[in-house]
Each structure stands twice: as structure tokens, then as C-alpha cells.
Amino acid sequence: MKIKIFKFSVILLILFMGCSKSILEEQIPHLITAETLFKNLDGFEAALNGLYNKVRQEWSGEPNQGTYGEVGLVATDIITTSNGSSFGYTVEKWGTAVNSDDPYLLLNFTWLYQVVNAANTIIARAENPEVTLTGNGKTADVNKNRVIGEARAIRAWAYRHLTYTFGDVPLTLDESQGSSIRTDWDRTPVSKVREQMRSDLLFAEQYVTTEPSLRGRLTKGAIHTYLAELYLALNKPDSTIIFADKIINEPAYKLITERYGVNISKPGTPFTDMFINGNCNREEGNSEALWVFQYEKGLSGTGNSHIKRNVVSRYDQKSITGKLTPFNYVIPFQCTVERAGYGRARLAMTKYAINIYEKQDDRGSNFAIRKYLILQDAATNGDGVPADKLPSGYAYGDTIKFDWSVDFILPDAATIRFLWPWSRKFDYADPLNVKGSNCYKDQPYIRAADAYLLKAEAQFKKGDNPGAAATINIIRQRSNASTITGDKVNIDFILDERARELVYEEHRRYTLLRTHKWLERTSLYNPNNGGSMITPRDTLFPIPRKVIDANLTKPMPQNPGY
């Protein structure tokens, strides 16, 4: 008996031991690792989708209601903070308010290096000779070069943001591995980083196609735009002209000069048609678009774009005094689809930027910049929205004009900023959710118009003023602005023209830094977060303290003045 029981226990033990090895091997039916993903073309396409998801966060925002892209937009001659997000508060004050503890700058830095690492991972894995990327009716080599090309272009995109924001930054081209944690990063000089960007873009330029590999991805034209801009920064205007011309001469990238699309029967202009929901994509007729960020309501891959709520004013909060009884305040305006729903105006155009247009210029019309609102009844408001409330002495149909005669100075601007003109490039509202703040409109990120302005800048740099005027006039004529002659062309005119055409689209801060005009023009035209507050120190932001602190074995120098 006892022997039997002993035997039984022993057998039991062996039974358990026998299977112990496989039990302790982790089964991962639900997780994606680099090993399980980077096996075939589908895996690489999914990794590219993930990469574009992160890139798109430039507009999709970060906590505290800002967006990563803000760092390239605000505190410039044409865009000011209005009702700050976290970064807005910082650049409202400059001075000691901008410091290496700023949480926004850390988030921004981290986000961009996440993109760099994801791109590095895709590049390294695609170069693995054991992986074959056949599929999609193309050869493995074609697919491989296109995948690597897109990833390298995105890597250059990230370093563009990094160098303009922080100056010299560590250059890393390897996939991060747990086994090799570095604590001794160096700050690579901007010139060397740009050399890498140039090589990445020149590689990508060969393999990325004229039409995007998928809607929402970048095109050859987008890469040419970055090359044209990079060569301006490298002071090689001839190369800029070569790459700008590749866009200008590409028939597929034709400028929009005629009305088109969903609102063709309604009043409007060719220029503003490009930004209307349903018109933004190349497939929808926007031949000028070179890269269009994609958003869609109700899908898991949808972004949560903050850009609309950050640009549209708080018109639904503005109280207006009645004509008859001066202290009878009423908040008249309801959120409607036509008014772009719910806005929080974290950013605003400066008075300078609003006044920069000729009267007949489409780009300054009420289709492009909202400058007034009309009191409307419920039927006109539509989508189940109630009627606007009438202040005493007003009737439906009355126009309330915005007043931007006095420039915007925080924090006392609360009273004026709620009815401040806003650029309508992001106007969108969901008819089912008029008070929702998210924007699900696809958004042109790079347009061919930029190429003309980059080319004009290069021509001006070379002393070819008539050529520059001719290039600029193509852009101006499309919007009914008057044509100019070569003698009017100077760097300030080019910057003004860029402002007229590309406000909120170009990274204005980078443009001004590239042309060495940021300090001068921001001081001059942005009394709110420019004026006398800014100094040469502020052309670069500080390296976040966490980056310096985590460099345990090698001191990392901070930017001067911080």
C-alpha cells in the first residue's frame, strides 16, 4: 500500500515536471512584437500605419488641449496665443517661464524621438535580408525601397521639427534595444543632422511615388517640398529651384484655379474650396494637395484632432450688450455647423496677419477668415440648433462685425478674443454633435503652393527678382490678388506672401528662423507674445531637463541662456 502511494506521488511529480518547460514559455496570442510583426509586407504596412498615426498627432494633440504642432506655429508674427494651452502659457511670458522643466517641451521632444525610433525600426527590419516583401503585385525590391523610403522621409520630417525647435540634437539611426541603453548621448550639430535628412530625403525621393501609396501618406511632391526647403536652409538656392520645379512641372500637382467640389453651387472661392470637408483630398479633386492628414469619425484609427477647436473663436461665449438697455447682456450665438461648431481659440491670428490682404484677395475674404457672424433664427441655424438669442434692439439677419482694431494683449483680452477673426482652414462640425470639439475633417498638410513660394525665395536669394515676382504672381493671381513686379520683392514681402497663402499650414516659426527674421518680425507684429519679451536666446527652446538628467555618464550642454 505505502509503496503504491509513493509510486503515485512520484508519477504525479514527474507528470508535472514533464510539462513545466512548455508551461513557462509565454504564449502571446494577443500581443504584437517586432518579431511577429516584421515578417511580411502586411506587417510593414501596419508599422507604416502606426508611424503615420504618430505623425498625425501633430494636430491630434497632447494632454492639456494643446497640439504638438503648436511649437512651430505660435509666438510668431502672424499667430499668437489666445487662451493658452500649456505651451501657450509658456510663450505668453517668455523669460523664466520658458525653462527646461516645461512639460510640453518634454512631451514634444519625446514624441518626435518616438517617431524617429519607429522609423529606425522599420528601416532596420526591412533591410534584414531574411525578410522578403513581395506583395501588392510588385517585386520585393520595389516594396522594400518604398517602405524604407517612406520611413526615411518621416525620419527626416521628425529631425526637421527637432532641429528647428531645439538646435543640435542627438542623431540616432538605430532601433532602440533593451540590451543597449545609452546614457552618453551627444548633441549632433544641426549641419550634420541636416546632412542625414538630405540623404534620407534623396533616398525617399527615388522610391516614393507621385500618388501616395495609400490615401493619407506622403507623396513624392511632399518629399520634394522638404528638399526644396532644406536646400534653402543649406543656402543652396539652385537645388531648391530644381526640386521646386519638379513639383511645379508635375501635371498631377496642378494648382487649384477653378471652383470645384461639394460646395460648388454655393458662394466661395477656388482657394477656400480646398479646405472644405469633402474637398481636401486628391481623390476629391484637390490636385494641389501633396500630403493630406486623414481623420474619420467613428473608426478606431481616427485621430482626435484639436486643431479646429484651437483655432475657432469662442463666439458661443461672447456676451453682447443690448442697444436699448446697456447692461442687458446676452450671449447670442449658438454653435452651428456653419460656424464650425465649438471653438476654444487657443491660437489666434495677429492683427497684422488679418490686415495683410488686399481687399479683393480671396485669401482674406470672409470665406477664408471669419470676420463677422449673422444673428440667425432656428431654421437658419439648422441641425436642431435653437435660435440665437437676440440682444435688445437686434433682429435676425443683423450682422455682428468682429473688431480687431486693437491688437490682442493677454490676459485682459477676454472681452475681445471671443469674437476675434479666425482662419477657416479647419472649419468643421459634426451635425450630430455641434458642440463637439473634435475635428474629423481631412486636412491638407502640404500643398503645391508652398513649392512656388520656396522657389521664389530661392530666386530672390540668387538676385532674380523678376523671376521671383513671376513665380509669386502665379500664386497671387489664383486668389485675385494684384500682380507684382520684381522691385517689390524682398524677404519681408516673401514672408508676407507666405503668411497670406499658408497661415496655419506652414510652420511659421521654422520659416522665420530659416530666414533669420523671427526675432525681428515677432517683436514687431506680435505685441502679445513678442514685443520686448523675446531675446536671441528664444530662437531655440531649452533641451528638456529629463533628457539632460538621463544622460548620466556624460554632461549634455544646455542651449545658451537657459
Partner: protein, 1010 residues
């Protein structure tokens, strides 16, 4: 892989088989009970007698029963009894708490007198030590024990309340108050790890337990043991380094049938309610703070009702709780049982914060033959936490100059029409919220006393617990989210399980003066869960709430999964010579699936030695000192506190879209390290147990030293890598401490008893090494990104020093730092004339306490007992968030009443009322000493005299009133020094997030035993 699939069904079959057996045993048990009551119908005779204690004093309430039956009675106030017994009765059993059970022969007698002997409590107590029990006198390690008798005295709804302050070295971190304080963590002997969990392993009836301690019915608990030192915890190897809590539930006892009811009703209020500004005060501060940001709607509210809205009154209520417990237990020679049912219903202080728990337990053990015993310990629980409530935070911080109601009396979605970012906090009460969970914990076992080999026993023990959580919430169009999204829902279904199978062989035998106790273990454990979640938006209407999920415009389902396995082998040898010399050796080998391929297995040895000095013949002071035991132990323990899949580099979901097509996407999300292994703690314990004057004074002194290496450290890494942290086995800590426990019977007279129990625990930890990296000066690098400093306590506050407020006569000096009067004065530590985060921050105290203590005094006079328990914590430094300017930019949020600086009020505690004065350019906090002493419990109880009870056939009737958290002595100015503190918003978001304070509670209770 194939084998893996094969093994699980085998376990399943075993469990199924055992469950069937258990059902059978249950049936048998009820039949037995029925028979025993039939027995009582036989012919009877009467016997009477007196029961006295060792000093000849009458023993009141002693239990006198016919041996082997339920026929019995309690002695009266004079220690006398009179009992009808079946004619053929020969033996009576007499028992009383604290005295030895006596069997008295009554053959041919009609009166008897029984003198009871005191039970030598400390020494012969049997203590659960994990995979077995031991006499307390034989133990070599450090085990703190809470017996059933102690547990009976304390009224609790939750076991952690028992542990706090009563057992030395056990520290409970409360993170939040509220109806059901689920957000708490237990720490035994301080902190060894920097980032890994400090939670001890919890073992219920021998099986590891993954649920919440709050889910265990305290009335079911027989004893709680805490294994503190390396030697006693080493049998749990890879999970022992944070200590082990062993909970044993009750069983039945042969011959003692009992049916009892325990119930209480309690009312609760907050211990501390911050004094928030009313509308008038808020308006005045707004005038100073942001006069251009006063909106018309605020002025309108102010003009009609200057007090404004009181969101606290609107969302809070007086809390109440009721608890009813019925239990039955009993046994015969071959089987015993304990059955209980429990209902707890709590109405928390926030409206709708409701909690209902119904639980049952069946513990049955049956001896089928001389050598085979089967049993089960099974509990079922159903928990309903449905209903959403406005959070404490929202109730306090909402702008009072707003309208909480619409004109028609419904809750306003946008109480502040000028700023629709702030939505009505009360609308949460309108959510349709269903939060239900159920739990099965079953432990089934077979014990085989191997015939022919005396002392050899084989146990097969299986544990299975299954938790199901269902949480559905619908936010309709009358709530902010529902309004914006046309109805919005979230739903979650989670199923989690813990399965364990243990094979235990024990050999326990005495050979003359030698006592040998050997234990061998082979076990397997698997923990897993699967969770299905769904969110949906865009409902056609609110009628069917979340039941209309199929009609929603947008649905987002997701599925989570996790599984981890542990395989263990353990051997333990205990050897005792002549009750004087005690030796213990253990070794355990564990394999854990979540570790890297090279480091799946770890081995954990320990040794311990004990010497009962008082048992030596040469010991001179036997008359005074009756216990004196010296203990020493050394051992290694592990901490496996990483989740499954931690070694793997992973990509997380990051989908994109193209037009209206969803594109699945993945993005690197976690950086893994494939050689992760155990965190190892090596510790030494030296202890002394003593008993003086026949154990009138007993106590224990322990000191320990622990070194932890290969920390599972989530270290920060440079964001240049694209990641912010990685878990590595890196770094070392040191932890040492001293614990003293003393209990004494101060006065012990026949009608008056005064006992005192006190304990104090000192803990001191420090970081010894981090990454082993040196800075440019060759000094070991601290980690400033995490505030970890070599040579300093593990968790410290590291911040600017707040030196008050710049005053009007300091204009020039303030200006030299870029400040103005009314702004915060931060100390310029390096005196370089500017404030910078790099050089002007310093360590401001440690967050963990330096010592904690508990003191319980118990006074009994006749049938009254008064219990006073005071708990104290010293040496912790915490943020006082109530001194943080919370009104924020544009003064949008309410705040506590503060002594704001103004030119006419030169306050030095609060800056001037403007956003910049306390924030620009650096964020700082104010730290205060969070030491406190708290009257945790004051309880008065009355036991009805037995002579009354006999008439109504009751064994016991007791009523009591208990107050909890009645008084707090502290200099801390924050919400509650006992809470972990709350968090703060980042960046421009000003919101502090005060937690719900602890509750003050009055309990009225009743115990009845038949």
C-alpha cells in the same frame, strides 16, 4: 505546448471530481446534524455543579456539554450549572476561553465541581506557518499572529482594518477614503523595492489569493498570521520578499454546535471637511484674482444668491452601513463543518456610492477512513457597486457662482453657460450604471495519513478562484458626454481566474526528545484573465440605454488577455531537541513564466535557529521568567512583481485611416529586456520572545537587516531612445528595522481586568546603488528624473524650499530674482542670485514613516468591556495640497478659504491672489510633517449575564457601540495625514485632485449565539 494543453483538462477533472465529493460530504454532514438532534429525545437525568478557575473563583459562562453532542449549557454568575443529560452519559466536556478543556467523568454522580487550569497561552498556541502548522514554542522565524479571540473583539468590515497598527511591522497605505476603500496597499517591514510592488503574498487556507482583502468576510476568519522574516517566508520563495499574510477560515469543532448571528449598523461622516469658499468669498477672490474674467452669468448668480451653489451639500450625504452575518458550525468524530452567510450594505458619503455584498461560505472536512480525509473550503460572493456618484473632487472644486439646476429642477449639463468646459458634476448621478461582480473561491483537498508509516502524510490541495466583473454604464442626453455624443456607453466583461495544485508530503514524528518535521512541496499555479470591453456612441434615443448597443452609430470593442504560470518545488526541515534547540532549513525553487528565457528559475534557501533558554535546567530565573527564546534566521526571498510579458519588446495599437477605411497600425510601445529575473532580498532576523510572571507580561523583540539586489527597476531612460523607461534587474537597497511588541495583564481581579498591548516598528531604508554609472566626477550617479538618491531613503520629496511670501519691504531683493511682493519666495540654496531647478531643489523629508505604533487598552468590569485603540505614524513628510493655489488661471475653480497675501494683509503662508504668484516660473509644493496619532477605535460592549441567557436558551448575547477614527492629533494641515496624498495636474492644468478623506464611523452592534 502539447503537454500544456493536456495538463489543464487533468486538473479540471480533478476539480470536478473533488466538487462532487464535496457535495456528497455536505449531504452527509446535514444528515449527521439531524441525527444528533434526534439523540436528544432519549431518557434523561439531571446533573449540577460548579466551575471555578485556578484560583478558586467562579467561572461565568463556561460551556458544559455532554461529550460528543450538542447538549449543553453555560455556567451562571456564580459559576454554577444544572443540566439534563441522557441517562447513559458518562462524560461532560467543560471549556472556557483561555482555559484548558476538561473532560469530567460523571458516571454515578449528580453533582460535580470542576477546577479549570489556565491555558499557557503563548507557548502552546498552534500557529499556521504555511504548508502546515507549528506550536508557537517551536517556531524559529518571525510570525505575527492574530487569534480568533483577538479578532472577536474587533468590529470590522474589512480585514485590513484589523491588521493596521495591531501587528507590528504591518503598514497599510490608504490611498483614498470612500464607501469601500479598495484603493489600499499593505507593506510589511517597510520598502525593499524602488518601483516593484511592496504588496505581500496573501494566502487563504493554504492557497494563494489574488482578490481583494475586502472581499473576505471577517466573520469567517479564524486566524491571521503574518510571516515577516526571510526564514518563515522563504517557503514562498519567489513571492516571499514582501512578507506573507496567511488567513485561515473557521472550521467546526467536535461536539460544539453553534449558531450565531453578528450584526451591526453604522453611520459615517468625513473626518475632515475642508472649508471651501462660498459664492461670496469666491466672488471677492475673483475680483482680486481675475477681475476681467468675471462672466455675466456669475454676476447673475451672485446677485440673486450671494452664497452660490453648495455642490458639497448637493452631492454628499450621511453614510451608513449595515452588516448581517449568520454562521453555524459543529462536528462529530468524523466530520466537521462551518457554514456562514453574510450581507453587507453600505451607502457611502457620496450620493449613489452604494455597495452591496452577499457572501456565503461552506467549510466541510470529513474523515472517510482512518487514513483518508476529504474537505472543501468554498466561498461565493456577489458584489453590486452599481451607481455613479459625483466625485469628492468635483463637488469641492466646481465654481459656486453657477446654477446646478435647470429652471425645471433637473441637473444642469452646463451649470456655467459662459464656460461649457465645466460640466455639471451632479449629472453623474443620472448615469445608468451597473457594476456587478461575482466570485467563487474554492479550495478542495485530500489528506492521506499514509498507513504503516507513522507521521507521514500526503496532501493534494487544489485551489480555484474565479472572478467575473461586469460593468456597464450609459450616459444619456441629460449628461454632458451623452449630450455631446448622442448617448455614450462603456461596457466591460472580465473573467479572471487563479488555479493552483499543490502536492505536499509531510513527515512529523517525535523520537524521544527529538522532534522531526519534514515538508516537501510540488506545486503549479496559473493566473489569467480575459477582458472584453466596448465603448459605443451615437444612440438613437436614451430609452434602452446600453441595451441598445447594437443600434449605436459607432462601437469600439477590444479584447485583453493575460496569463502567467508558476511552478515550484520546496523542501523544509524542522528539528527540535528537547524543546530547547530548534533548527529550520528550507529551500524553494520557483519557475515563473514572465521572466526571460535564461532566468525562469530561481532558488531561495534559508536557515533558522531557536533556543528556548527558559527550558534549560541551568536557567536561574524560572520563577520570574517563564519564556525566554532567542531566534536567529537568514534567508533569501524573491519578488516576482512584474506582470506577464514584461520581458518582451512590444508594439501597441496605433491605427490610422485612409478616407473611411480603418488601417490597422502598430507602434513601438514597450522596450523589453529579455534577461529579466527575480529581485532578490537577503535578510537576517534576530528575535527574542519572553514571558514574565506566568505570562502576565509577554512580548517579542525583533530586529532585521535586509539587502535587496537586482531590483526590478522601472528606470527612466533618455527620451532619445523613443521610450521613457525600461524595467531592468538593477540597483540595490538596504532596509533595516526594529519591532517591539508587549502585552500585559495590568490588573487581573475576578471582576476587573485591564490588559494593554502595544507595538512599535522602526523602519529605515536607503538606496545603496542604482545603475552603477558614474558621472564625469567619478561619483555614482543619482537619478534626478525619478528623485532617487544613493544613500537616501527610497522615496523622498525633492523640491524647492518655500520660504514664505515676498513682502512689501523686500521689493528690491524680490526684483533681483524676478519676483514682486506677494509672490512665492523660493530659497536660493546655492546663493547664486537666481532660482533654477538644477541647483535650488533639495530633499525635503521621506514619504514613508520612520516609525509606526499601536496601543490597545482593554478594560473589563463585570460584563462591560471597553477597548481603546490608538494608532500612530511618525516621520513621514507629505505635500499639503490644500496650500496649493487651486483657483487657477481666470479663477475658475473653487478652493479652500485661504489667507491670501494682499498689500494690506502681509500673509506669509499664501501668495497673492493671481495665477503667476505661486507658479511662475517653477512649480513647487509645500511639505509638512505628516506624523499623527489617531484614536482608531473606541469600543464599549456589554455581555448579558448567563443566568438571564439561560432562560431564553442563549449561549451568548452581546451588544456594543464602537467609534472609529474619532480623533486625530496632527500638525499636518492637509486633508488627511493618513492618505497617500492625491495627485496634481500637469502643465497648465491647475487642478489638484484631493482624495476622499477618511470616514468617522459610529457602529452599533449585536452578537447572539445559540
Amino acid at each position: 505546448m502539447k503537454k500544456n494543453k493536456f495538463v489543464v483538462p487533468v486538473f479540471w477533472n480533478k476539480i470536478k471530481l473533488l466538487m462532487r465529493l464535496c457535495t456528497l460530504i455536505l449531504l452527509i454532514s446535514f444528515t449527521t446534524v439531524a441525527f444528533s438532534s434526534l439523540l436528544a429525545q432519549q431518557q434523561t437525568r439531571e446533573i449540577s455543579g460548579t466551575v471555578t478557575d485556578s484560583k478558586g473563583q467562579p467561572v461565568i459562562g463556561a460551556s458544559v456539554v455532554v461529550k460528543g453532542t450538542t447538549v449543553g449549557i453555560n455556567t451562571d454568575a456564580d459559576g454554577k450549572f444544572r443540566l439534563s443529560v441522557p441517562d447513559n452519559t458518562t462524560t461532560l466536556s467543560v471549556s472556557f476561553i483561555g482555559m484548558k478543556l476538561q473532560d469530567v467523568d460523571i458516571s454515578g454522580k449528580i453533582t460535580i465541581s470542576v477546577q479549570m487550569e489556565d491555558e499557557t497561552v503563548s507557548l502552546d498556541e498552534v500557529v499556521v506557518v504555511g504548508y502546515g502548522t507549528q506550536k508557537k514554542s517551536d517556531i524559529t522565524g518571525t510570525v505575527a499572529s492574530l487569534s480568533q479571540e483577538k479578532l472577536k473583539k474587533i468590529v470590522v468590515s474589512d480585514v485590513t482594518q484589523v491588521l493596521q497598527g495591531v501587528l507590528s511591522g504591518v503598514f497599510i497605505n490608504q490611498n483614498d477614503g470612500g464607501a469601500v476603500p479598495t484603493d489600499q496597499s499593505i507593506m510589511i517591514r517597510g520598502r525593499n523595492s524602488i518601483t516593484a510592488s511592496t504588496s505581500p503574498l496573501i494566502v487563504v487556507d493554504g492557497v494563494s489569493y489574488s482578490g481583494l482583502l475586502t472581499d473576505i468576510n471577517p466573520n469567517d476568519i479564524k486566524s491571521v498570521e503574518v510571516l515577516k522574516d526571510a526564514s518563515s517566508a522563504a517557503i514562498y520563495g519567489s513571492r516571499g520578499s514582501n512578507g506573507v499574510i496567511l488567513i485561515t477560515t473557521k472550521g467546526g469543532e467536535e461536539g460544539i454546535t453553534s449558531l450565531s448571528y453578528d450584526g451591526y449598523y453604522s453611520i459615517q461622516n468625513f473626518t475632515n471637511i475642508p472649508d471651501m469658499m462660498d459664492g461670496e468669498q469666491f466672488y471677492q477672490i475673483k475680483l482680486l484674482y481675475a477681475p476681467t474674467s468675471i462672466f455675466q452669468s456669475e454676476i447673475d448668480v451672485y446677485n440673486t444668491n450671494p452664497k452660490g451653489a453648495d455642490y458639497y451639500e448637493l452631492s454628499m450625504r450621511q453614510g451608513s452601513s449595515q452588516n448581517h452575518n449568520i454562521s453555524a458550525s459543529g462536528g462529530t468524530k468524523n466530520m466537521n463543518y462551518f457554514i456562514s452567510g453574510n450581507v453587507v450594505e453600505t451607502k457611502g458619503l457620496a450620493k449613489n456610492d452604494d455597495y452591496l455584498k452577499i457572501s456565503t461560505r461552506v467549510n466541510v472536512e470529513g474523515k472517510l477512513t482512518d487514513w483518508l480525509t476529504l474537505g472543501t473550503r468554498t466561498s461565493l460572493a456577489y458584489i453590486d457597486m452599481s451607481g455613479a456618484s459625483s466625485t469628492f473632487r468635483n463637488a469641492f472644486m466646481m465654481n459656486p457662482l453657477t446654477n446646478p439646476f435647470n429652471p425645471d429642477g433637473t441637473y444642469a449639463i452646463f451649470p456655467w453657460p459662459d464656460n461649457t468646459d465645466y460640466t455639471g458634476p451632479l449629472t453623474a448621478l443620472l448615469y445608468d450604471d451597473s457594476d456587478l461582480s461575482s466570485q467563487v473561491v474554492t479550495h478542495n483537498f485530500v489528506k492521506v495519513n499514509v498507513p504503516f508509516i507513522k507521521g507521514l502524510q500526503y496532501d493534494l490541495s487544489t485551489g480555484y478562484s474565479l472572478n467575473n466583473f461586469n460593468h456597464y454604464q450609459y450616459q444619456g442626453r441629460n449628461t454632458p458626454n451623452g449630450y455631446k455624443q448622442q448617448g455614450s456607453m462603456t461596457g466591460q466583461e472580465t473573467r479572471s481566474y487563479l488555479l493552483s495544485v499543490e502536492n505536499i508530503l509531510t513527515y512529523d514524528r517525535e523520537f524521544g526528545k527529538h522532534h522531526l518535521f519534514l515538508t516537501g512541496l510540488y506545486s503549479f499555479e496559473e493566473e489569467g484573465n480575459k477582458r472584453f470591453s466596448i465603448t459605443a456612441r451615437g444612440f438613437p434615443n436614451d430609452v434602452l440605454t446600453y441595451y441598445a448597443v447594437d443600434k449605436a452609430l459607432y462601437t469600439y470593442p477590444s479584447l485583453d488577455f493575460s496569463k502567467a504560470d508558476l511552478i515550484s518545488e520546496m523542501f523544509r526541515a524542522n528539528y527540535t531537541y528537547d524543546n530547547r534547540y530548534l533548527f529550520t532549513f528550507t529551500i524553494r525553487r520557483d519557475g515563473y513564466s514572465a521572466f526571460g528565457a535564461q532566468n525562469k528559475y530561481g532558488s531561495f534557501p534559508s536557515f533558522a535557529f531557536g533556543w528556548n533558554i527558559a527550558n534549560e535546567s541551568f536557567f536561574p530565573l524560572k520563577d520570574i521568567i517563564n519564556i525566554l527564546k532567542l531566534r536567529a534566521s537568514w534567508g533569501k526571498n524573491g519578488n516576482q512583481a512584474i506582470k506577464a510579458y514584461s520581458t518582451l519588446s512590444r508594439l501597441g495599437g496605433a491605427d490610422n485611416v485612409a478616407g473611411s477605411t480603418n488601417l490597422a497600425g502598430y507602434f513601438p510601445s514597450v522596450l523589453g529586456q529579455d534577461n529579466l529575473g527575480w529581485e532578490t532580498t537577503e535578510s537576517t532576523n534576530i528575535g527574542l520572545d519572553f514571558g514574565i510572571l506566568e505570562n502576565r507580561i509577554t512580548g517579542e523583540i525583533n530586529s532585521y537587516f535586509a539587502n535587496t539586489s537586482d531590483l526590478l527597476l522601472a528606470r527612466s531612460i533618455s527620451p532619445v531612445s523613443g521610450f521613457e523607461s525600461i524595467t531592468q534587474n538593477i540597483g540595490k537597497t538596504n532596509n533595516k528595522g526594529l519591532e517591539i511588541t508587549i502585552s500585559s495583564k495590568n490588573i487581573d481581579m475576578s471582576s476587573f481586568l485591564w490588559t494593554t498591548e502595544g507595538n512599535i516598528s522602526f523602519v529605515k531604508n536607503k538606496i545603496v546603488a542604482l545603475y552603477g554609472l558614474k558621472d564625469e566626477n567619478g561619483k555614482l550617479s543619482d537619478d534626478l528624473t525619478n528623485n532617487w538618491f544613493i544613500g537616501q531613503p527610497i522615496i523622498v520629496n525633492y523640491d524647492f524650499v518655500f520660504d514664505g511670501v515676498w513682502q512689501l519691504d523686500e521689493v528690491a531683493e524680490a526684483a533681483s530674482y524676478g519676483y514682486q511682493p506677494g509672490y512665492a519666495k523660493l530659497r536660493d540654496l546655492n546663493k547664486d542670485g537666481m532660482i533654477s531647478s538644477g541647483s535650488d531643489r533639495k530633499i525635503i523629508g521621506q514619504v514613508d514613516p520612520k516609525f509606526t505604533w499601536g496601543l490597545t487598552n482593554s478594560l473589563s468590569y463585570k460584563n462591560f468591556t471597553l477597548n481603546v485603540f490608538i494608532y500612530g505614524v511618525n516621520g513621514a513628510t507629505k505635500k499639503n495640497l490644500l496650500r496649493f493655489d487651486n483657483v487657477g488661471k481666470d479663477a475658475r475653480l473653487n478652493d479652500v478659504v485661504k489667507d491670501w497675501w494682499t498689500p494690506t494683509n502681509p500673509s506669509n503662508t499664501m501668495t497673492s491672489p493671481c495665477y503667476e504668484s505661486s507658479r511662475i516660473p517653477f512649480q513647487y509644493y509645500i511639505y509638512e510633517n505628516a506624523s499623527f496619532a489617531r484614536l482608531k477605535e473606541l469600543a464599549l460592549s456589554y455581555d448579558f449575564p448567563t443566568k438571564w441567557l439561560d432562560r431564553i436558551k442563549l449561549k451568548r448575547l452581546r451588544v456594543y457601540i464602537t467609534g472609529r477614527n474619532l480623533m486625530t492629533f496632527t500638525k499636518f494641515g492637509g486633508l488627511d495625514p493618513e492618505l497617500e496624498g492625491g495627485s496634481t495636474g500637469s502643465g497648465g492644468a491647475p487642478a489638484i485632485m484631493p482624495m476622499t478623506p477618511l470616514q468617522k464611523e459610529f457602529i452599533f452592534g449585536l452578537n447572539i449565539e445559540l
